[in-house]
Structure formats: C-alpha cells, structure tokens
Chain length 343, copies 2
C-alpha cells in the first residue's frame, strides 16, 4: 500500500481528481453525479476506503438522516427489546440511529437531550423516564426537535405518542384471572421506577372497583431498577407476614414476577393453574424471558413489533411533513394476553 490513509473529503477528492463538493454530492446521492465521475469515485473508494465524518456532515445539513432513540433504562430487557426493534426499523428506513439511555436518572435524561440536540437529528423517539422527568426540559426539547413519545405519554408533549394501553393490559389480566378463578391482588413497588407503573396501579384499582370488587394492593419497598430482587425480597417478606390476601397475584411487571416466582420456588409454593398449585401468578410486559421462567409466565404483553412499527412510522410521517403535525395523536396499542403456565 504505502499510501497514507485519507483523512478527509478534500484529500479523497484529490486522489479521485474531482472537487470536494462533487464527492459530497456523490455521498448524498450517487445518482447525482455523472456516470464517469461516479465510477472514478467508486474505484477510489474501493482502493482507499473513505467514509465522510458523520458528525461533520450533520453539523450543517438542512435535514440529517439521523434518528435519536432514548430509553429510560437500557439494562432493562424490556427497553432493550423496544430499542432494538425501533433501531432496526429506522435503519431499514435508511436512517442512522443513535441510542441513549437515561439510566433512570433525571439529570442524565436532561444531558441526553442536550447531546441529542447537538446531533441535529431529523427526529427523535423518546421513551421518557415519566414521573422522574423534568417536564419543562422535555417540552423545550420537543419544541426544537421533532419528537414522538414512546411507551409513556406526557400530556401535550411530543408531536405524537405511541405506546401500549395500560387499561388494555390490566383489564385483560384482571378479567382473565377473575374469570378463571378468583380476583387478583396487585403486586407492585410502593415507589415504582417503571414509567407506566402508576398508571397500571390506577387502572387496577379502577377495574376492580368497576367489577364491584375491593382492590388489594401489595406494595413492596425498594428503589431503583433491580426489580427482580425487589420482587424476590418483597415476596419473601409478604409471605412471612401473610400479606397476600388471595392466591392469585397480578404483578405490575414481569421483572417483579420473575423475582416473585423465584421466591415461590424457594418456599415450595407451587405456581400454576393445575390442581397441585398453591398460587397463580400473572403479570404485564411479556419480558423476553417470560417464556423461560418456572413455570412459564402468563402475561399481558406489548406487541413489540407493532409498537416499534407504529412509532417509527409516525416519526417518519412527522419528518416528512416538516416536524409539526396538525393534530397531536396518541395511539394506544392494545396488549395481548399470552397464556402460559403460571396462571
């Protein structure tokens, strides 16, 4: 080889033998340069392998091909799954994505938004922290950057919202459990971090009251995002203190349920709907591992694919029409009951 590596578009244009803006045009749309020029560029590309600096590109572009994706906590498999689905679809649509996690912290979410602004994305898919979010900061951000909210709505913020309908989640689980046995108590964190937890609690209470039943909350202590552990410890204590008013337990989310199931296993409480079983356990989210718990977990799940598809679709429309919708829409996707062995 011997030749030194090409450092920028200028140098690359020089070895091709055209001007830099021509190369720039090529990268924006290869069809926009003459065929002879195109082949010259592509030959040089083959030989030296140059790629424009994506951040310098974005700096000054009218409209970038970037989409920012923000989730509240990436180490949570549910959000990892959402992020991945969304990311894949954006890439398929010809966009470049940048993924951020707020790590469950208000300050980090703000910082993420600042960095995102600097990226000048064409649009952003934002799953906010929710209750912990700095609403004013979110609002300011959404003023400046075309944003579709995911997973957790915040009133008036974002050009659109796409997420699962918590009512649909809880009503299906409660309805199923009630129909096939007794009504469930609701196992949750007293002070939950998941963005939709409060909404699910509210829905549970309303639905139970709608059925003329007494809501039964079993709220356990614990901060942060280690839900399995919180569920596990909480369940052990609740067993010890006999705080479960029924043998049918509906968990706010699957990760709590995973902890609960571990506690049940350890205590020898058989879970399932069979005759030899002491407890029925159901939950919400359809966590990637819900099929592989013991017993497998009956849960009301997101349709991750539809969620991602609609979210991305809506964002692309938004980008298409210049970043503002006439009317803000909220799409609540209905969840689907996934019957497995735990209830």
């Amino acid at each position: 080889m011997g030749e030194k590596r090409i450092r920028n578009m200028e140098e690359f244009a020089a070895v091709v033998g055209v001007s830099r803006p021509t190369v720039s045009k090529y990268f924006n749309d290869p069809a926009s340069v003459r065929k002879s020029t195109r082949t010259k560029i592509e030959d040089a590309l083959e030989k030296h392998g140059f790629r424009p600096n994506i951040f310098a590109m974005n700096q000054n572009r009218r409209l970038t091909k970037n989409i920012g994706i923000v989730v509240p906590f990436l180490a949570d498999p549910v959000f990892a799954e959402i992020a991945r689905s969304v990311e894949r679809r954006c890439i398929e649509a010809g966009f470049h994505t940048t993924l951020f996690s707020s790590h469950g912290e208000r300050e980090l979410e703000i910082e993420v938004l600042d960095n995102l602004r600097a990226l000048r994305p064409a649009g952003v898919l934002l799953a906010p922290l929710g209750r912990k979010s700095d609403i004013d900061e979110l609002a300011r951000f959404c003023e400046e950057v075309p944003t579709v909210l995911l997973d957790r709505p915040i009133d008036g913020i974002g050009e659109a919202f796409v997420g699962s309908d918590n009512f649909s989640f809880v009503s299906q689980s409660v309805e199923y459990l009630t129909r096939t046995g007794e009504a469930p108590c609701f196992f949750e964190m007293k002070n939950p971090s998941p963005p939709n937890a409060f909404s699910r609690r509210r829905q549970y209470i309303e639905i139970m009251e709608g059925l003329g039943l007494e809501p039964m909350l079993v709220s356990v202590d614990g901060e942060g995002w280690a839900f399995e552990e919180i569920g596990y410890n909480g369940a052990l204590r609740a067993f010890a203190e006999r705080r479960f008013p029924t043998d049918t337990i509906l968990c706010s989310n699957d990760r709590l349920a995973i902890g609960l199931l571990a506690a049940c296993y350890e205590k020898g409480r058989r879970v399932g709907r069979g005759s030899g079983c002491a407890l029925r356990v159901a939950s919400h989210d359809d966590h990637p591992n819900a099929r592989f718990t013991c017993p497998s977990l009956t849960t009301v799940g997101h349709d991750y694919d539809v969620l991602a598809a609609r979210g991305v679709e809506r964002l692309l429309e938004l980008i298409e029409c210049g970043g503002r919708f006439e009317i803000r829409t909220e799409e609540l996707l209905s969840a689907r009951l996934v019957l497995r062995d735990s209830a």
Copy 2:
C-alpha cells in the same frame, strides 16, 4: 422570558459581554478565566442555560473527553451489565461516553468503528464480536484510536486486553462439579455467537483430558443471540434423544442454562444437589438473573466491577501516556464460583 433561546457560543458570549474564545476557555477550565469574568459567565449561564455543542467541540479539540464503548450485543444482559459498569466508571472519571452495539453483525461492527473514529474519542473500550469480527478493520481502527479490548482478546490487537480468564471459569466449574459428584457434560451451541464460547469449549476439553476424563459435548443447533430459546429447545430435544451422557450438566453460559432450566422444569426433572434431584446444572457468567432462576443457578461469574474497573483504569493510563503502551498487556481476571441451588 421573552428572550429567544441562545443557539451557539457566539450568541452566548455576546449576552455575557466577552468574546467567544473566552467563553470557550471557561468551558474547558473555569479556573482559566478571571474571577470577574467567571461570575459574569456563570450568571448568564444561570439565566439562559447554554451548553456547547459537544460534537462541534470534539471536531477540533486536541484531546477530547470522550470515551467510546462498544459491545457485541447490547440486548444481552451480560453485555448490558458490562457496558453499564464501564460507563459509570468513565463518567466518574470525568469523561463523556458513547455506547455502541454491534448487534451481533460484522458489518455493523465495522460501521460502529467508523462512526467512532468520527467522534475522535480519547480512547475506546471495545468488546469485539470475536470470531465474526473483521480482524483487519479492527487492527486498522486500533492503529488510529487508543483502544483497550474487553472480554474477548484478539491477538496483537488493541493496546491492552482486560477480560475474564476462560480457563479460570471452566476449571472452577468442572473442578467443583467433579469434586462434589460426577464430571459434567458440556452443554453448548454447535455454532456459538458469544465471543468466548469457543474458548470455553476448548478449555472444557483440555481440562477434562487433564483429569483423565472423556470430554462429553452436547452441542445444540441454533443461530443468533436468543440463547434461552436455543437452550430450551436444545434441551428438550436432547432429553428426548437421551443425549445427555451424565446427570451433571455444565452450560457454556447462563442464558443457555436459563433455557435448560425451563426445559427441566417443564419435564419435571428436578434440578439441584438435594436427594430428590435428577440433575445438577451449572454455568458461566453470573447473569443478572442467575439468582432468580428456579432453582437459583450455580455459576462461575465475572467480577463485573473488577472487569470494569481494570478496563477503565487501563484505558485511562493509555490516554495518559499518549495512546501507546510500551508493551501490550493481557489481563485475565479470575472468575469466582457462585454457589447457589442448581448444583
């Protein structure tokens, strides 16, 4: 308010009443400007809330405060955990991090490296795909950007390597299982995606031979990163075909084990070391959920904290000394056996 939002450092400097470079100096080191200037800037900061564009900053800085982090598959909880630990430590050290996932794909890893170059990071912590990586691309990248390899070594590439010692993993698990019962067979993917899987297989074979025992591989089909499912389906088939030569099963990694445990539960094969148990199952990694499987999973785990600490420490040293080490080091961290209930 009424005042319009400040868009760049120029505008901000104007409202402060100093020149832009002075503001720039302030952001690089607040102590480098006169106290009176500093308070003026900070007052304006309080009032208008300006933050410099981080990507424009990096464009031209001698040495950025950015660290790039790359993992092969972010939706894998083990890598999510590693990424998070590493990220936290970098931030504590005063750096800004950018996280990338190769999503298990060779092309995406290359793209990630290209984007990373454009970010001009001070250094990179790279957990490569391994076997699937484009070695030449990795080598070229490491030539240009100070890089510490994580998790999976690739000979001669990167200024340093920090990772877990697969020998230490497998020898401890095999030793423990053999000592407390019979020698294990090795449950794995025939064509594994995890970067360290081949190494673990090799170690298993060597260790067994070293003990004068016959290695027993149970290799199951399956592509991609859905290891739980692969483990589950593989185990069901292996049970049906009576392919497990022993009742002691050592899984290549915890996610396979989670699938295997689900299959055991479903088939009513009691797992554990108690008298009523049909199988013992152990594994490697100490997956975040390994405590919450049924039964809880005996595993040989990474010390995530030490791994992250040493990786970051080594990278900071590397950055300190200008991006090149005199001698390339490989640190193999020994794993630790975590005894739980499954074996």
